[in-house]
Symmetry: C2
Subunit: 435 residues, 2 copies
């Protein structure tokens, strides 16, 4: 193979990724063809197996290839899809009737009238809206957030250590330049493309499940897509190992609010005594996904470094939404919304499990964790996942495929965007597509 | 001097910058002391004069040192200021009565009731708000923006080539990784820290007024702070030179709406036929600075590259504000708001010039351009600019110092945030501080 991969800023696995992506998109590796085995590919390209594996995991995460257990990786038909904007691409598809793939919030759970009232009241602060916001985020919201996470998550910090941004990526765009001495970052798996992309953009070498990386990114309440959480013993281990190694932990506290079947586990930030851990929180699963508002808590050393450059980064989050959220939390609505959603999702997930069990019977395997809004369903199936996904979509079903083998398929079913009384028709429709 | 500067990812000038910043903040270079001359410093550190100059310009832009014409650079008293958050830092100061330093909008020009109506109507689209927004920005807003800039700025593009983001920095965070083959970027001067910071974060070598850089960042309608605009002949030259060199132009169309005394000049994007130019627009000077909404138009080659990675970057701008702005523009309010502000600022700037002329008399020099909301005022003054700034602030005046010499000082006076009938008391108060 006449290829040369350079060990420059762009990490090797991304070069391998790009190489195969191009072959796939140019139809030189046609849909359905089997990818070379990791060993064979590593030998051919004179690269390590880990590098090839990372590239394959990324290709799979981005939909170019798909893993089939005990068989290897296969090219999907992504290249046959029209490469224009998402809107026009899907324009001839019927509307989605049942969305099992959603990571939105329950349609009926959000009180738009309430949020609208807070936005209206924020808009009345006209003098305040005539100027740019504080680069770090509005001071009153930061204070409210500091109080909130102290009470709810035992995260002790000052409002000065909190940085607000329009989503987790905006925060990483501030954090990555602060920690530019570090070179490697580890993620639990390849599925969190939004996170790994930003680190790769700043020249970090992205790895998976590598405890000795300079930066370790974890979501302890969301270890698997079906809601497994990291036990306290492993949290302690991780904190100790990182502290000995001098690694920085980034704790993305995603979905910690939806831990149902046990007490919420302590945050890594708390276990580490506030040192060596950046804590990230967001509200997309609690309020509206369309409200772009996340925050990070910096440990003292990074907080000082940030203060020196803070004025160089403009705030990205909407000031109106910051002011509204501040008062919304002060008035206790975030706490009650969290309580309501937690109860609702626990019930819905239990009910969904019952319905799935009834409809799919003995032949299915259901995996659930202690948290989250989804379960994993494995059923017998002999065609490809891609065929299933397309057929289901044509019938108004949106589904997410986790894994497939020669005779089974594993789907992730989210309960958040389907009403409880629609679980049964939704699952029956799904079953009819699986025959 | 026992220093070593490494030519690594972090550009040399930033290392020099950090070196002096630390000396200043640790009081080892006390306030008022003169910085070594460029030549002397370059010789001592064995670096080029340009590198030292870039470092000094950045130090000046960030307030660590200040230039005095024909004399050199002097350390400010920045280290004496309390390094905590902006709020607590200024908490013992009186409120600002007259803000000459503002880049906000005129207090009375913005119709909050109107904007509130559009936000309310956007909030009614509840189904749409329950999901994440399109990574590239809402499709209907992109279409409206494409139509708007075609009509107003003769920028011809498709909605597919437009990327929306929460401010210019969010857009650069997407653009910089797309153009990672390029190594150097040129800015017109050191004052636009928000722009140069992002490029430096991605390892670009930041230069000033360097036509041969790989990337050339310009704001043609805002060449100086007092509103000088780039003439068409220079625009043509720049486009030709960049095209021959293979440089990418980033055209930040900041304040193009406020070109008063001549017809608006054609955009570089238009002059270049849509190739080799990224066009950036924003609404902070037209609507509210607190609305974080900017957009960029990518030329065809970059647009294709972006499409391949679009799904990896989450949208940063508020979906509610995107929906509201879309309808606001459709209903013609952006056009009428622009017209109204243009007329208002032209009148205010003329009136401010008259008032300044009357109050400061023959001893002053006033510089104005063909655009913008500010004028530059040079008056006799023998103390330091820092003293003036502090004294003025204690008297409720916020001012911006552009330059100082042994016996004169140049201030930038913005008309946007002071009411016309307050120009006279504001200027009298300013004059009393200058004596």
């Amino acid at each position: 193979m006449s290829l040369s991969f350079h060990s420059n800023k762009e990490s090797l696995y991304l070069q391998v990724y790009d190489h195969y992506k191009n072959l796939i998109m140019e139809h030189r590796l046609p849909a359905g063809s089997r990818m070379p085995s990791l060993r064979k590919c590593a030998a051919e390209l004179k690269l390590s197996r880990t590098t090839i594996e990372n590239a394959y995991l990324q290709l799979a995460a981005d939909g170019y290839i798909i893993a089939r257990a005990q068989s290897g990786y296969y090219v999907t038909d992504i290249a046959a899809q029209d490469p224009v904007s998402p809107v026009s691409r899907h324009s001839n598809l019927p509307p989605v009737k049942y969305d099992f793939a959603s990571n939105g919030v329950d349609h009926k759970s959000f009180r738009f009238d309430l949020w609208q009232r807070y936005l209206k009241s924020a808009l009345r602060q006209s003098e305040r809206l005539l100027s740019y916001g504080e680069p770090q985020g509005e001071a009153d919201l930061r204070q409210v957030l500091a109080d909130y996470i102290r009470q709810r998550r035992n995260v002790n910090c000052s409002a000065d250590d909190i940085v607000i941004g329009a989503g987790m990526q905006s925060l990483l765009n501030i954090l990555c330049p602060l920690i530019r001495g570090k070179k490697t970052v580890s993620f639990p798996n390849a599925s969190f493309v939004q996170g790994s992309t930003i680190f790769a953009d700043y020249g970090f070498d992205v790895r998976y499940r590598n405890k000795d990386s300079d930066v370790i990114y974890v979501s302890p309440a969301h270890m698997t897509k079906w809601g497994e959480i990291m036990p306290v013993s492993r949290r302690m281990e991780l904190v100790h190992h990182a502290s000995e190694n001098g690694s920085l932990i980034i704790e993305d506290d995603y979905e910690n609010e939806f831990v149902y079947f046990q007490r919420p586990t302590p945050s890594l930030f708390n276990l580490a005594g506030g040192h060596g851990v950046v804590y990230i929180g967001s509200f997309s699963r609690l309020l509206l996904p369309s409200i772009r508002l996340s925050f990070m808590v910096l440990p003292p050393s990074l907080s000082r470094q940030y203060a020196a450059v803070a004025e160089r980064y403009s705030q990205t989050a909407s000031k109106v939404e910051q002011i509204a959220l501040c008062q919304f939390i002060r008035d206790g609505h975030l706490t009650s919304q969290t309580k309501k959603l937690k109860k609702l999702y626990a019930q819905k997930l239990k009910e969904l499990k019952n319905v799935v069990q009834n409809i799919f019977g003995e032949n299915c395997t259901i995996q659930t964790g202690a948290a989250g809004t989804s379960l994993a369903l494995t059923v017998p199936y002999t065609r490809t996942g891609l065929e299933l996904k397309k057929e289901a979509r044509m019938n108004g079903l949106s589904i997410l495929i986790l894994e497939e083998s020669a005779d089974t398929i594993t789907l992730l079913l989210s309960c958040s965007s389907i009403a409880t009384d629609e679980f049964e028709p939704a699952c029956r429709l799904l079953k009819s597509n699986l025959i």
